[in-house]
């Protein structure tokens, strides 16, 4: 299989040392930036930055929504517990009418 000789996307006269993992464009040593162990072109790096920012914003807002939800729901959950204890106590008071105790 013949080795494909490719030139840098920005420099016609320079050999490409690799391709950008995002734009897939062949890039020379000068055009490539190694980040987290992989090669990026300048355009690719910009796209990555934008994606990361968007993801962290989405993460932040989903976290904020989660906290808001927890703040709203918590009192209801606490009240549900109160109702459970209150109903159980009343149930046991009612149960005594059956004189269960005499069975033991």
């Amino acid at each position: 299989m013949a080795i494909q000789r490719r030139m840098c996307a920005n420099h016609d006269n320079r050999m490409a040392i690799g391709v950008c993992v995002i734009t897939k464009a062949p890039i020379c040593a000068e055009c490539s930036t190694r980040y987290e162990g992989v090669n990026y072109s300048k355009e690719g790096l910009a796209i990555l930055k934008k994606r990361r920012a968007k993801a962290s914003k989405a993460g932040m807002s989903s976290k904020a929504v989660g906290y808001m939800l927890a703040v709203v729901v918590s009192p209801l959950l606490v009240y549900a517990h109160f109702l459970f204890f209150e109903h159980t106590t009343s149930f046991f008071i009612d149960l005594q009418q059956f004189e269960f105790a005499n069975w033991f």
């Binding site: 517990h81 459970f84 106590t89 005594q96 105790a101």
Partner: protein
Amino acid sequence: MGTAIQAHFETSRAPGALSSMDSAAEYLRRNLAALLPLYVVAMLPFSAIMIATIDFVTSEYRAMTVLTSWLLVLATLWRWAWLAFLQRRVQTDIRGGEPHRIRGRLHSILFVRLVASVCATWGSFIIAPGLYGFLIGGMTTPLYLEPSDRPTAQIKRVISWITSSHMRLLKILTSLGFLYFISLICLYALIRIVVGTLLPSFLGIDPSDMGFTLSSWTGILVVSYLVGLIFDLYWAVLSVMIFYDLQSRRLAPDLRVRIRGLRNSSSS
């Protein structure tokens, strides 16, 4: 080499459903002195209010139920917070190393416990949510203390673990329930024998004087509660064991697949 690793995994799968119950009992026996102070702190307010509630119940003092119910809610939150410290100790002993940080995670633990507990109480009318709530409630602390970027994803994972190991977990829960009732019945029988025959014949005490401890509502409820405490402490330890048991069962098949992949790639 490959077969040796595989053989190891085949045998590590072998322990039966109740093996985590054995290891929890063994752990509790060895570490009771260290766990008991934490457990007493966790349960003291709850127990005091519970005994008062039982007293109000048997005296049919309905006016107090609103107050005691709110106090029980507060004592429950206190109980969960301290059980988190107790379970952290168990978790640290199991995985070794430094204990995980609780600060900053306690509010999440309490929130998930609230949700799980609503499922375990009101949800138990339709059974399945009750079981999930009960199991997740016990595993909340180890789950949230285990380092993870997204606890919500972890919760989903634990729900899927519970679903895939439901037979194993049902066996554990039914054995626990069975043990609880057996120990209650044995204890009542013992009390009856002591109060009914031993005390009057050997010590000349009239059983009708202490009859209330035997057959009254107060006696039945208090004894059931006290026996329940032992099982509650046991469950706090057992649920951490179950958490790691489910995790390893979940991870073992993944590892097996990876080992198979390694062997295939090296032979080709």
